[in-house]
């Protein structure tokens, strides 16, 4: 393969600006997809992606394109996700490319992820091809959006290509620009093999499939190779390109993107970011890998039915094979039984994993309130990191609690600035600065991560009628007046509902939780007192009155079997309840209480 005829590029943008739809048009225009397999957002292969209309996983597709110069080019495209939780997918894709198509929705203009991704691409030294998309929309303002690209990112407005991914306008021109402007791969075809693993997944037939970008040299079926960092050696069993379905090839040369299969059975035996090199010396240098992603949001996952614990464990193991960015370890709760403490990249990630577990593995789950990782300085000088309220030491032992702080960059049309500032203040934010570009304002706020994990994104959207967006970076730890809020039923703590909250919010939060629980805890034989407390101090209290009457009036003849079956059914329903002390709490109560964070 002549590397000068290869163009590797990715499509990056803010969420929903039309990357996957643009990818569809490129696949169309190059005749890569058969007429019968066409489908909107073809590269969103997961059921969940299609349903939610968002990309979660970056996907590659290889296309052959005959350019106006009469030559055939191999175009390798990587469609990336736009949501901030999945930006590590973008960062990896960038390493496999020489160019990036930066998509800006002409009706929305530049948003937070547009900027974040554009800067990432510039830093990775990629050639940026800016386009404004959705020019078919009546509300589209292609010139305005192009001007923003110039003002904010510093690319010439005149170079911004107007496109409608929906209607195909501008797509032919884009292909030509890709050929003309994206540099061909720069690797050395004669040097020893160096291939960067930038994604991997588990396939039940062939084991681990590693998606690589061959930087130098070539890899052939049957080659003996080594994973540079891992140190393990393997035989290359199979090589694929994806155009857009896996197709077996004999070799992958410098500059090409493809799949290497070499009999690895578990994702633990292969690290994304590692370099594949020849087994025989001399050992070439490793390619720069990726910074390791660290989970930011933590939550307990428990099976609704205790007997599903082992199925949950097996499901987590399998899921992790395809998503090494989430972590889990066993955890026990007095109220919820055996489960797992899981770490996620963000709240959407948490939601997605939960939904995949429920859907693909048919599990019913309870998820505890998401928390972040706190850094606790103890009076004895020790500093510990905790990811669950249960791990918080006794108040007497704590010197300071530090919480992770982010710098949020929020983009919004001028008229919503007030609403956004109000929201940020309510979330304990400190304004850093504000800048105006055209009609849009960029506001930067320092905010506690804990205040944004659950619903900040939705809230931004709702207070700005969908026009605002935000992105964030972790900037460090800040001391804060945090306390552990416990929920007690008839004096017994419901550990699964404990929270770490700011002292000023403990009271309202406690009252909300108690009220929500009251709604869902059915009346029992005795009165149930629901309390929210900080240590020994009760900050909110409510009661579920004792059940007064629960009688079946008649029981003759045919009623008897029916009654017995009804009682059995009720008992089975009770078994799904969790017992805390002598109080029976239905699943829904946990779910409702844990959901509360979303709409507070």
């Amino acid at each position: 393969m002549d590397a000068s005829k290869i163009r590797n590029f990715c499509i990056i943008a803010h969420i929903d600006h039309g990357k996957s739809t643009l990818a569809d048009r490129l696949l169309d225009a190059t005749g890569t997809l058969g007429a019968r397999e066409k489908r909107d957002q073809f590269l969103d292969k997961m059921e969940l992606e299609q349903e939610r209309g968002i990309t979660i996983k970056a996907q590659t597709a290889r296309m052959t394109y005959r350019a106006k110069d009469g030559e055939d080019y191999i175009l390798n495209l990587i469609d990336t996700p736009g949501h901030v939780d999945f930006s590590y997918e973008v960062s990896r894709a960038l390493q496999a490319c020489e160019g990036a198509v930066l998509v800006v929705d002409a009706s929305q203009g530049i948003e937070a992820q547009t900027l974040a991704n554009a800067y990432m691409a510039i830093e990775a030294d990629l050639e940026i091809l800016p386009i404004v998309n959705k020019i078919d929309l009546p509300a589209a303002d292609p010139e305005g959006a192009a001007q923003q690209v110039e003002d904010v990112i510093g690319l010439d407005a005149a170079d911004v290509l107007p496109v409608s991914a929906k209607e195909g306008t501008g797509v032919d021109e884009l292909l030509e620009r890709i050929v003309a402007n994206v540099p061909p791969p720069r690797g050395d075809a004669e040097a020893p093999l160096r291939a960067l693993i930038f994604d991997a997944w588990f396939d039940s037939y062939v084991g681990v499939a590693a998606l690589v970008r061959v930087v130098d040299g070539e890899v052939k079926k049957g080659d003996r190779v080594k994973l540079r960092a891992q140190g393990s050696e393997h035989d290359v069993q199979d090589l694929h390109v994806i155009d857009p379905h896996p197709r077996r090839v004999k070799r992958l040369g410098a500059g090409e993107v493809g799949v290497v299969i070499c009999g690895i059975k578990s994702l633990d035996e292969l690290k994304i970011g590692d370099t594949i090199v020849p087994a025989a010396p001399p050992l070439p240098d490793a390619l720069p890998g990726f910074r390791e992603v660290k989970p930011m949001v933590f939550s307990g996952l428990y099976p609704v039915e205790a007997e599903d614990y082992h199925s949950l464990k097996a499901a987590l193991e399998k899921l992790r094979l395809n998503d090494s960015s989430f972590q889990y370890e066993p955890e026990t709760s007095a109220a919820l039984g055996f489960g797992f403490r899981c770490g996620f990249l963000g709240f959407l990630h948490c939601e997605i994993i939960q939904e995949r577990l429920e859907r693909e593995y048919d599990l019913d789950l309870i998820t505890t309130a998401p928390t972040v990782r706190y850094r606790v300085e103890k009076k004895d000088g020790e500093t510990i990191e905790i990811e669950t309220p249960a791990a918080l030491p006794d108040v007497m032992e704590i010197a300071t609690i530090n919480e992770p702080t982010i710098l949020a960059t929020i983009h919004v049309p001028q008229e919503y600035v007030g609403a956004v500032i109000a929201l940020c203040q309510e979330r304990r934010g400190n304004q850093r600065d504000m800048a105006v570009h055209g009609g849009r304002v960029q506001i930067r706020y320092e905010l506690p991560l804990a205040e944004v994990v659950a619903d900040f994104h939705d809230r931004i959207k709702s207070v700005t009628r969908g026009f605002g967006s935000y992105d964030y970076d972790l900037i460090g730890y800040t001391p804060a007046a945090l306390v552990k809020l416990d929920i007690l039923v008839n004096g017994d703590p419901v550990d699964a509902l404990s929270l770490i909250v700011h002292r000023d919010k403990a009271h309202t939060r406690g009252a909300d939780l108690a009220r929500k629980l009251k709604e869902f805890i059915p009346r029992q034989m005795f009165e149930v007192a629901i309390q929210a407390a900080i240590g020994a101090k009760v900050v909110a209290r409510t009661t579920v009155k004792a059940l007064r009457k629960n009688v079946t009036a008649k029981c003759y003849g045919g009623d008897i079997s029916r009654k017995r079956k009804l009682l059995e059914k009720q008992k089975a329903g009770k078994r799904r309840m969790k017992r805390v002390g002598s109080v029976e709490i239905p699943q829904e109560a946990f779910l409702a209480a844990l959901k509360l964070g979303d709409d507070s």
Binding site: R523, F526, K549, V551, C555, G557, I560, R564, L567, Q570
Partner: protein, 390 residues
């Protein structure tokens, strides 16, 4: 050892109209065509003959005509059925209890003397309420003045064992209304009262109306207060509560109904009728049978000669029999006898259900004189107790 006897339940599916809270097997008939009546009676007798052998060697304790509205049948039909039943078993020495359910209506009232001549000695009268508004809400065909006339007529016809059905917790009814109903009932010095809290059974028009928010049954608190008031007022009137919804003067407990709570065999014939059998070979913990709930299907089977085999059969397992012994026993005032339970199942109730202790601590159960019983509060929360016994 208990006597080996049998009670017979005969189901008459006809009703003048179907009440919106009813979930029994009934068919609406304003007037019953004599030919249809004859066909029904013949079919009942056919089924009786086919099923009686399974209860051979027993003595006859009770006959109960339920429905539906069995009093829509002509007295001659009732007489014929009673005769047929008597022909199958010897009397058990005590006077036979023969109950007929009756609604307050003109036709039925006029037949009272003839029913008495036919052998009926106990009437269960569906008074439900002495308030026209409540009767209307319940969708009953009769009015209060008809109830009065029927009760008077029953006494004049010489019936000395009357049971009144009352329903409380009817939408629109308040506590004072319920107590007034009880007062009016007591004025007739009934031997027995069945006072049922209105339950909304799934699949009835009532359930639909409640789901739509068109009807609001009495809330928990009010329902509880009503039940307590009914119990206290009837008690003061000389009727002792001997089961969750049943009250009687001494010596007048419903022997037929009691058979269900004591798990004694009952042969049920007719549409939708249920039967219970004592433990036998192959069914060490007893068995249940049930007829089809559609008149046409039942008739077709009986007339086709398939009377001996009701379509539904259920052999009870030991745990099932135990729970039934538990929750049926606890429904009654004598309660769950510990030694009798142990004799039958080989362990004491509190060993079988450690939850009994917890329920006692919660004040829903008490244990005295060798039996477990519901407390005053327990009567109100009986289902909460029973849930722990399955």
């Amino acid at each position: 050892m208990r006597r080996k006897d049998v009670g017979v339940y005969i189901h008459v599916p006809f009703c003048e109209r179907v009440c919106p809270y009813c979930d029994f097997a009934v068919v609406a008939r304003r007037v019953i065509d004599p030919a249809e009546e004859a066909r029904l009676v013949t079919a009942l007798q056919t089924e009786l003959r086919a099923r009686a052998p399974a209860y051979a060697g027993r003595s006859l304790a009770t006959i109960y005509f339920g429905g539906g509205t069995p009093s829509l049948l002509r007295p001659a039909s009732i007489a014929g059925l009673i005769e047929a039943v008597r022909g199958q078993w010897n009397p058990d020495g005590e006077p036979l209890e023969i109950t007929l359910e009756l609604n307050p209506s003109t036709v039925e009232r006029e037949r009272l003397p003839a029913f008495r001549d036919a052998g009926v000695d106990r009437l269960s009268i569906g008074v439900q309420s002495f308030d026209d508004e409540s009767l209307h809400r319940l969708g009953r065909a009769h009015r209060v003045d008809e109830a009065h006339r029927t009760l008077e007529a029953a006494r004049s016809a010489g019936f000395t064992n009357l049971s009144l059905d009352l329903i409380f917790g009817v939408p629109s009814q308040d506590l004072a209304g319920v107590r007034k109903d009880v007062r009016e009932a007591l004025a007739y010095r009934p031997e027995h009262v069945s006072a049922y809290g209105l339950t909304v059974e799934e699949g009835t028009p009532y359930a639909t109306a409640v789901a739509r928010g068109q009807l609001q049954p009495a809330d928990d608190e009010t329902g509880a207060a009503m039940m307590e008031a009914v119990s206290a007022d009837l008690g003061a009137g000389g009727l002792e509560r001997y089961e969750i919804s049943s009250y009687a003067r001494p010596g007048y407990q419903a022997r037929h109904n009691r058979r269900y709570w004591r798990r004694e065999p009952v042969l049920g014939i007719g549409v939708g009728a249920h039967s219970s059998e004592s433990p036998g070979s192959g069914t060490p913990f007893g068995a249940r049978r049930a007829n089809e709930r559609q008149l046409a299907a039942w008739l077709a089977r009986i007339e086709g000669g398939g009377g001996a085999g009701p379509p539904q059969f259920e052999a009870l397992s030991e745990p099932e029999a135990r729970s039934e012994a538990g929750f049926l026993g606890l429904r009654t005032q004598p309660g769950l006898n510990r030694r009798r339970f142990e004799a039958e199942f080989g362990l004491l109730p509190e060993v079988c259900w450690p939850a009994l202790q917890e329920l006692r601590e919660a004040g829903l159960l008490e244990e005295a004189d060798g039996a477990w019983r519901l407390t005053q509060r327990g009567w109100l929360l009986s289902d909460t107790v029973f849930e722990r016994l399955v």
